[in-house]
């Protein structure tokens, strides 16, 4: 589960984890909307002292989005101003009206007056402030206009104003309008306005270069951090197409379109957009003299690298490898070590699909550190830790490594990597079977303030780390029997990562796993069986394993055995130790269910050895429980009790409720079995303590609603009470047993022989 997603490895808009928008020169021009803003600014300057503090603050907050955002209709602008300061809105409107209904010279006069705000000993606007820059841009742009352009601007202003007036008029008219002829006239007008209105909703007019850049960088960062807040794929694509229609050279739009296509898993258009982007980028690289030839070659390398990333994302590993080879070759030819490092990281990811390649990774980390690429180095360390964890390396060393890389993250403020690191710790603790530690880490991430939240105001919560942590959290809750809480978390996941998004598969898998467990607990095997298909689709190994478990539960032993054997061989080949141990346990269970306890023992010992070697503590204790059970059946309950003491502690501390119940039940059984040889008085004591343990087991089973186990416990308890001669308690237990027994179908395995 601890996984570092590959898409994080490279992204051209992102160096060392920071999104850079392309830095262009001044490309802005005067539009009627901008003129309205200018009027607003000059009115603001004029009203200056009269404005209240609160109004002033509201206006200031309004200004920045207005200056950066796309052009909007006058009515919307007026409404926005009115919300802050109604008085000012009125005066802005009047001045616009005067200008629009006056003559051309009014506009010329207006622009002449604008530059006055800079002059004087105490200028109203500072030249280098945001507003000052905007004013100066506008004045410059205006002065550059040719004669016909000035006139065109003026007519545009008139139209801008008249459209607003007309709209107001139409709103008023609507009430009185009953005359059919007028209706006809209105229809016609609507027909005329039809296509335009549609555009207006999406985007009012063409964006200037600055506005477009702002739009792109905003959407890109949203896509990266919180996909749900970005525009929907379809409408974003529409916007981009619009943008590209006006300016096909706007390369960044192609890149965003690539990212957008990735969201909907569209290979064709994403490839198309990506290549188009780099074709265009090569141009800009060639044009800018500062980069010279180098800039041009650079984009070529990254083009190939990105293509590799794209193929990898879609699972075309062979293609990805070819593209990567190409990138590596070009990077080598031009001695671009940074690019080579990126390539190396990618190579690792690709090779990982085929075989373990720690060497590559270690190399990558070393080199990245050498070239000062902390982002890559940390990612490398994290991948390495993940791999080592699976390979059963010493836990303390791994945690140390993570701690060291955390230091690096905090130093460079790589908040994304901090998140990943915590998620990874959660996953590793889970792997080791320390659920409390995992829980703590998960909560840490969720309640931590992201670094970026301070900067951008966008909570970074759409990343894989969050998905991983939340999934773990859901599972941990389900294990403890808090199903409502688990489903609440899953609901939240569904909202945060809609089904078609990149990380949705994670929660889908966990959701089904939890459902599966519940169905198994309830004994609704057909439901569990129907879930297997879904699990297999998301994770084939997990699916096969679950299938075997269902078969086992349905007493189809030989099928289950066959499946498990196959799975065992496969998992041993791909070195998935966690699964190997689980499979071994299942196989052992199959054996003892068929009353072949002697065969089960070596299998269990093998599992125990493996679990100890890879420090998978929880699996180890589970194995011990199984072992103890086998010993109990083989008639050495004292021995069983001895080894149970080893396992009971971790199980009670970290285990799932069901396991706790099973463990307590088993303890009770062993106690009873070993009591047979005791003196009567000691025997009574032992039996009484067994009853207490059974009570505890009962509460655990009740928590997860395991009726079958409950029934068994009750039966056992009734027998014990009977032996002790406590008739009343015995009858109570017997009654409860009967109730349950009628509900459930009888199963073939004798009660004493079942451990789980």
């Amino acid at each position: 589960m601890a996984s570092v997603h590959e898409s994080l490895y490279f992204n051209p808009m992102l160096t060392n984890g920071v999104v850079h928008a392309n830095v262009f020169g001044v490309r802005d021009w005067v539009t009627p909307h901008k003129m309205a803003l200018l009027v607003l600014l000059s009115e603001l300057g004029r009203a200056g002292a009269q404005l209240g503090l609160l109004e002033r603050r509201r206006l200031n907050r309004l200004l920045l989005p207005l200056l950066q955002g796309p052009d909007m209709a006058l009515s919307r602008l007026r409404k926005a101003i009115e919300e802050c300061c109604p008085h000012l809105a009125g005066s802005v409107h009047i001045r616009l009206k005067l200008m629009a209904e006056g003559e051309l010279k009014d506009m010329e006069q207006f622009f002449d007056d604008l530059s006055d705000s800079f002059s004087g000993t105490e200028p109203e606007v500072h030249k280098t402030s945001v507003v000052g820059l905007f004013l100066r841009h506008m004045i410059l742009a205006y002065n550059k206009l040719s004669f016909s352009q000035v006139y065109k601007l003026y007519t545009a202003l008139q139209q801008y104003f008249q459209k607003d007036e007309k709209k107001n008029g139409a709103d008023e008219n609507e009430m009185e309008l009953t005359n059919p002829e007028e209706l006809d006239g209105k229809m016609e007008k609507e027909e005329l306005d039809g296509p335009l209105r549609e555009e207006e909703i999406a985007c009012s007019g063409p964006l200037s270069q600055k506005q477009a850049e702002y739009f792109l960088s905003q959407q890109a960062s949203l896509l990266k951090n919180d996909e749900t807040k970005a525009l929907a794929p379809a409408s974003l694509q529409k916007e981009l197409n619009n943008l590209l229609k006006f300016n096909p050279d706007f390369a960044e739009a192609h890149y965003l379109s690539y990212l957008n296509s990735l969201r909907v898993q569209d290979v064709f258009s994403s490839t198309h957009s990506l290549l188009h982007y780099f074709d265009r980028l090569i141009l800009t690289g060639a044009e800018s003299k500062s980069n010279g030839d180098e800039g041009y070659g650079r984009s070529l390398r990254y083009a190939a690298l990105n293509l590799a990333a794209l193929h990898c994302r879609f699972g075309h590993y062979q293609q990805a490898e070819l593209a990567l080879q190409e990138a590596i070759r070009i990077a080598q030819e031009s001695n671009d070590h940074v690019c080579l490092q990126h390539c190396l990281s990618w190579l690792y990811i690709l090779e990982q699909k085929i075989f373990d390649s720690c060497v590559l990774l270690e190399h990558s980390v070393n080199k990245s550190l050498h070239f000062g690429l902390p982002y890559l180095a940390s990612l490398g360390i994290q991948s390495l830790v993940q791999q080592r964890a699976f390979a059963g390396k010493a836990a303390n060393k791994l945690m140390d490594a993570l701690k060291d890389s955390d230091l690096l993250h905090w130093k460079h403020s790589l908040s994304e990597l901090i998140d990943i690191s915590i998620a990874q710790k959660t996953a590793i603790w889970r792997l080791y079977g320390r659920s409390t530690m995992a829980l703590q880490q998960a909560q840490t991430l969720l309640s931590m303030n992201s670094l970026e939240a301070v900067n951008v105001g966008v909570q970074q919560n759409n990343t894989e780390s969050f998905a991983v942590v939340l999934c773990h959290l859901a599972e941990l809750h389900a294990e403890q029997g808090y199903f409502a809480a688990a489903s609440e978390i899953l609901k939240h996941l569904k909202e945060r990562f809609p089904p078609n998004s990149q990380h949705a598969q994670l929660w889908m898998l966990f959701d089904q796993k939890i459902q599966f467990e519940r169905a198994m607990n309830d004994g609704r095997y057909h439901v569990a069986d129907s879930l297997v298909a879904g699990i297999t689709a998301l994770n084939s190994i997990e699916g096969v394993y679950r299938k075997a478990i269902v078969l086992k539960a349905q007493n189809q032993m030989s099928e289950a055995h066959k499946l498990l054997q196959k799975l065992l061989i496969h998992c041993q080949k791909i070195k998935n130790t966690e699964m190997v141990i689980s499979v071994l346990l299942s196989i052992a269970e199959l054996y003892w269910r068929s009353s072949c306890h002697t065969i089960a023992l070596p299998v269990l010992l093998q599992a125990l050895a493996l679990a100890r070697e890879y420090s998978l503590q929880y699996l180890a204790s589970e194995t011990v429980l199984n072992l103890a059970f086998s010993q109990l059946i083989l008639g050495i309950p004292e021995q069983a009790l001895n080894i149970l003491h080893m396992a009971i502690e971790p199980v009670l501390a970290h285990g799932a409720v069901l396991d706790k119940g099973c463990a307590m039940f088993l303890v009770a059984k062993c106690q009873v079995a070993s009591a047979a040889s005791y003196t009567p008085q000691k025997k009574t004591e032992a039996l009484e303590s067994a009853i207490l343990n059974l009570n505890e087991a009962k509460t655990y089973f009740a928590k997860v609603d395991c009726k079958e186990q409950l029934r068994d416990v009750l039966y056992f308890q009734a027998r014990l009470f009977h032996t002790l001669g406590k008739t009343q308690e015995r009858n109570k237990c017997a009654m409860l047993f009967r109730q349950l027994h009628q509900e459930l179908p009888a199963h073939g395995v004798p009660l004493i022989n079942a451990f789980k």
């Binding site: 802005d28 296509p195 477009a212 300016n247 265009r280 141009l283 190939a304 879609f314 293609q319």
Partner: protein
Amino acid sequence: AMIGRAGAMAAAAAMVAVGGGDFSDLREIKKQLLSVAERSRERGLQHSGKWAAELAFALEPLPLSELPPPPVLTEEDARDLDAYTLAKSYFDLKEYDRAAYFLRGCKSQKAYFLYMYSRYLSGEKKKDDETVDSLGPLEKGQVKNEALRELRVELSKKHKAQELDGFGLYLYGVVLRKLDLVKEAIDVFVEAAHVLPLHWGAWLELCNLITDKEMLKFLSLPDTWMKEFFLAHIYTELQLIEEALQKYQSLIDAGFSKSTYIISQIAVAYHNIRDIDKALSIFNELRKQDPYRIENMDTFSNLLYVRSMKPELSYLAHNLCEIDKYRVETCCVIGNYYSLRSQHEKAALYFQRALKLNPRYLGAWTLMGHEYMEMKNTSAAIQAYRHAIEVNKRDYRAWYGLGQTYEILKMPFYCLYYYRRAHQLRPNDSRMLVALGECYEKLNQLVEAKKCYWRAYAVGDVEKMALVKLAKLHEQLNESEQAAQCYIKYIQDIYSCGEVVEHLEVSTAFRYLAQYYFKCKLWDEASACAQKCCAFNDTREEGKALLRQILQLRNQGETSSTDVAAPFFLPASLSANNTPTRRVSPLNLSSVTP
């Protein structure tokens, strides 16, 4: 208005008398052509008029008695006559606003059309003027014909009331197309073709809007002889060359043999399937018939360029320059001329000029890309090709050019995408397939490479290199039998064409075959091949050595090898069926093809 409508319908009905690909009454056709030429001219539709007139010119002249009568004037026409006459003269002088001003309120069909058309053209002209000084770079795409929306509203009202004649519908369609309402535009053009099938403009617009064969299938077109011209034209556009040529041949057989339009179209079609000799001879014929023609001469120059016919190209360039040097085609021809003389800067300059004259002239972008490639300015080349693709996504040459650029930049995997695009657009063009094969070979994906080469051969290899490359691949993979088979086919191919001189690889083929037969102990074949080897400089020595060896071995084992008697070049195992079928199974490359 009702009368006008009825009149138009009657006229149209009379004109559709000859229908359904029936060319028996050429006189009637000629009459129709003459009359529609006249009517188009009255409405200022110069190009349609020109087309009809050109076609009419190809038919026998009519005797006086059969000349079409001057169009009958209705009461309305008479009322609008003064305004129309004045406006038409303004229109001819390109004073569109002025023409529209005097035509407002006119009710007759002719005057109304001219009124609307003037407004449309005025809008277009202003749009062009404004593109020069728009406010900002992003606004450039935003400049649009302001008149379009008003025209659309008015025309759609008339359309709903069924008051538009064929020309009016045509104009409505054009307005819709300019507003990017493609579906509606197609419907209106089809209607226009039904009402007035003789108007070529409507058909031509349809040609531009229909992008594939499927779309064509679902159109319900009027059953007239004009449809044949339309089909031939659109087949050429959709690269369905064989069908197009068939259509044109039947048109020629029907009596249009003198039409310069058809001749030029056939030449273009041959150019498209790279039958260079035929295309050249037809173009030469065309120039004889119509020496001052500038249209299609850019295609002609491309052909001359491909054949490196310097003097002819130079003559053509100078000739066209004399006729009109500010035509797109002229600039293109001159560009080709300079390119052939390896003066690539100048060539690029002329292509740029062509683009200034007409920014939508697609060919020039691609050609400019080629020039930049020659100048090793890869980034500029990529830019030019990308522009070409922007203008027309189906321009396979631009995709191919992009592929080549990246191949030059040593990115064989990256260029696969572009070659694949080109291949998709021209599935039966061997050049793309060979290029694809070469890329796969560079990527060491030999299976894919083999598929590509084989396919290239199967669809008819233009450059005759696919087989040699395939053979070499087999050689590399130690599949000697297949390699030999390929070489044999290659040699057969070359000899059947009769142009051995240019192909250096023939000697390689013979050398390999000689060695192969030698290994198989087929002495006769081996010595025949070795003798052939001696005819080439580079393999002479080897050939001789092999001959000596064969002689030696033969003398030793004379008795043992008498039973082999396979025919020359075709050992029994190979002769079964080695002609590739034209219809090969789809190219199933294992890689994902976005």
